[in-house]
Amino acid sequence: MKGLWGHPTCINNVETWANVPAIMLYGADWFSRIGTSNSKGTKVFALAGKVKNTGLVEVPMGTSLREIIYDIGGGLIDGKQLKAVQTGGPSGGCIPFDKIDIPVDYDNLRSIGSMMGSGGMIVLDESDCIVSTTKFFLEFTKDESCGKCLPCREGTYRMLEILERITSGHGEMEDLDKLERLGNAIVKSSLCGLGMSAPNPVLSALKYFREEFEIHIKEKRCPTQRCTQLVTFTIIPEKCTGCTLCARRCPVSCIRGFNKKPHEIMQEYCIKCGECYNVCKFDAIEKI
């Protein structure tokens, strides 16, 4: 292995480099006073998601997630309930709401199935679907796979396929075991850090939110109604006035009915875009 132009080469993240001048100015002892015993100094997080104040925040290592989310982030938007926090970017893991009091440092995050990673911190509230969130992250890592090593190249693709099956109502209970089996094989045998961490969101979500996966599979239902393919839109005949607005707005013309008579959605053609639900003035459309 050789560095740039055959010389020893140091490659580090910008954040690491940014710490160097401070350490050189004030000394290592000063730096070590900040943080926990195994994680020194401060950490910059990119706080995002359903918190009031988003942006870059710098906190001493060891600060709890609760402090970051509620004190710095100002709590959740619209006062909603916290569901989970995804730390470490798309390769990190999701931390359930009941674990937000642990002090954030390298070891603690790893012990609960997540990681420091890129310093990303995405706050999810009760209206976020954990299955589609993990699917979103896996889509990213699948795209980022360079294609050199087999586990990451083929494995992330298969995991994503399984998640797509689950979110579209074609999942089976064995799929959960497959996800875990594949995920562990990818983590254990990939060539670089991307593959070694790519299954993390899925594996941690399965650990803390298995029930939500099971509802998607067994009941073909998404509790947060985020997985549009699992949502059914129906017209409540008692409430429908037959104003025809939904029928006119439906992009695939799958709503039928006469003027001033209750309308009906032809489910086999519905693309679940939700337009009818949004435009109905009489709350006559039900989303299940």
Binding site: G147, R153, E154, E161, R181, K188, S189, L191
Partner: protein
């Protein structure tokens, strides 16, 4: 060098610093399964099938790419590791066409073999599969990206052994594909058609263009006089098709099998090899006398010739203008033989059995046509294709009686036979040139200085008062080394033999594939040495071992060609080359 102590599966090992886990495990008989690994190519570490458990490490480590460190405690087996390996192979199968039963490599596929050995008995993760069209623009070989498992052995052999750098991986992730730059068709790339990608491919992602249909049809056509010629290297390897050990000479059985297939004449490319020596020695002596266009570089290997045209066009004047033995033989079959037998050359169908896929390309070069639509060589079969044809015809090869080649174009000397090995053309040329220059018989026929399996050999041979500096290179990266030496003026050579394939024709891209599994690899010097051995044994047993002593060569010059270098010989037996520069560069 320092010794390192470690434990593998509970057994203590002591190995030299730098030894990989795989090498150490192999030594104690713990064969870690592997796929992308190839001992003569750089370490890729891409397939991860060879993962092992190392105490204290969070993840598994690839045995092929991890050097042992002091005190390492390694486990090559555990239920979890076996499970992971199975899962990985299953992932490969999930993205692979299910066409094993109709695949060229059925029964000799490393992926198939591995899946069986590791016990992949179910398919849990099946889903979408990559889709790519079969790329068959090249006359020599087919690239089937759907069968590619991205081990990149072909990429490595193409750059590290052949120095062609034609193949690389394009796109990324699941879309990754191995192809020439910009996914150009193989025919429009710098591919030299050596076929080493076929030899190292664990599956059938690279395979030769099939010519058997053409040959079956010709054999079935009563209007055609179908003749066949076989290259020297075929007889050293054809037996492997029936599990004979590599290097079992099978000339007689091969001839009989060809006759049973229905060929009207069975000739020997070795005859033309003798003729090549006559022409090339003449050319060499002329150039030495005039002191121009030296070193003379051999031109028998069509892969090398295409490499020359692409990458070293400045050396084109140095290349011998002699056609390759295959083309000489074919030309004579359609001129001399046709005349002698009173057959219309257009009614003669010449099949050449070659250890080579570049020969399929050479046969279609425009220089090698008698007239429009009438090539000198009508079809080129690889050794593999011939083996299959013999099997398909139901010929019991192993119990065939020995046959003899037809004459006059089937008689060869020992010098013609050794053409199939690296250093063989050089040795054959030296036997004749020596006598032509000094007028004295060679005392020691075996020029062992030029015999080798290594890719590069230099020697100085005393020919009378002349010190002849010669070099033998096989594998085109080695050819590069020699040519760069010549270019820089570091070394003055008189004669250079270059063969595209490592080991020469005996290890060509059309030779029988090494049996997949059991950790034997193509390019193994041991295998090459055995096949070479067969040729040197045949040479040793020949009564006539110098090309110019071949009575039929004497006869053809007397009756037909005149003398070496004559106008007629020049017209029929010599060719020319053209620089193949990137488009837009003149």
């Amino acid at each position: 060098m320092k010794y390192i102590n470690a434990t593998i599966d509970g057994m203590p090992v002591s190995v030299l610093e730098g030894t990989t886990i795989m090498e150490a495990a192999d030594k104690i008989g713990a064969h870690v399964p592997r796929l992308c690994y190839h001992p003569f190519l750089s370490t890729e570490g891409a397939c991860r099938i060879c993962v092992v458990e190392v105490e204290g490490m969070r993840n598994y480590l690839p045995a092929c790419a991890t050097a042992i460190t002091e005190g390492m405690n390694i486990k090559t087996n555990s239920p979890q590791i076996r499970q992971t390996r199975r899962d990985l192979v299953e992932l490969l199968l999930d993205n692979h066409p299910k066409s094993c039963l109709t695949c060229d490599r059925d029964g000799n596929c490393e992926l198939q073999n591995l899946a069986y050995k590791l016990g992949v008995r179910e398919r849990l993760f099946e889903g979408d599969r990559k889709r790519h069209p079969i790329e068959d623009s090249s006359v020599s070989l087919i690239r089937d990206a759907e069968k590619c498992i991205l081990c990149r052995r072909c990429v490595r052999v193409c750059s590290e052994i052949q120095g062609v750098h034609n193949l690389s991986q394009l796109y990324r992730g699941f879309d990754t594909v191995v192809a020439p730059a910009f996914e150009a068709p193989m025919d429009d790339s710098v591919c030299i058609k050596c076929g080493q990608c076929i030899n190292v491919c664990p599956t059938a992602a690279f395979i030769e263009q099939d010519a058997t249909e053409l040959v079956w049809a010709a054999l079935d056509n009563p209007d055609l006089h179908v003749v066949v010629q076989t290259a020297p290297a075929i007889r050293a390897a054809i037996g492997e098709g029936w599990n004979l050990p590599p290097g079992t000479p099978s000339t007689g059985k091969m001839i009989t099998a060809l006759r049973r297939l229905g060929f009207d004449g069975v000739f020997d490319t070795d005859f033309a090899a003798d003729l090549t020596i006559m022409e090339e020695s003449h050319e060499f002596i002329e150039r030495v006398k005039k002191g121009e266009k030296l070193p003379l570089i051999t031109s028998c290997s069509p892969g090398w010739i295409k490499f020359l045209e692409h990458f070293y066009p400045e050396f084109i004047p140095n290349a011998s203008s002699c056609k390759s033995p295959m083309q000489m033989e074919s030309t004579l079959l359609k001129t001399y033989y046709a005349e002698k037998m009173g057959i219309d050359p257009e009614k003669i169908f010449v099949v050449a059995v070659m250890p080579c896929v570049a020969k399929k390309y050479e046969a279609r070069r425009p220089e090698h046509y008698l007239k429009e639509n009438v090539p000198h060589t009508d079809a080129v079969l690889t050794t593999r294709e011939l083996i299959w044809m013999i099997k398909a015809y139901g010929i019991d090869f192993l119990n065939l009686p020995d046959g003899e080649f037809d004459n006059p174009l089937g008689f060869s000397t020992g010098a013609g036979v050794i053409f199939g090995s690296t250093g063989g053309v050089m040795e054959a040329a030296l036997r004749t040139a020596y006598e032509m220059i000094t007028g004295e018989p060679v005392k020691e026929l075996e020029f062992t200085d030029v015999r080798a399996v290594e890719g590069l050999r230099e020697a100085t041979i005393k020919v009378g008062d002349l010190d002849v500096n010669v070099a033998v290179a096989n594998g085109l990266n080695n050819a590069k080394t020699i040519l760069e030496k010549v270019k820089s003026g570091e070394k003055q050579f008189h004669l250079i033999e270059i063969m595209a394939c490592p080991g020469g024709c005996v290890a060509g891209g059309g030779q029988p594939l090494v049996y997949a599994g059991d950790y034997v690899y193509p390019l193994y010097p041991e295998l090459i040495r055995k096949r070479q051995g067969a040729l040197y044994t045949i040479d040793e047993r020949k009564e006539i071992r110098k090309s110019h002593d071949n009575p039929y060569i004497k006869e053809i010059y007397k009756e037909f060609l005149g003398k070496p270098g004559s106008e007629k010989a020049h017209h029929l037996l010599h060719t020319h080359y053209e620089a193949k520069l990137p488009r837009g560069i003149k």
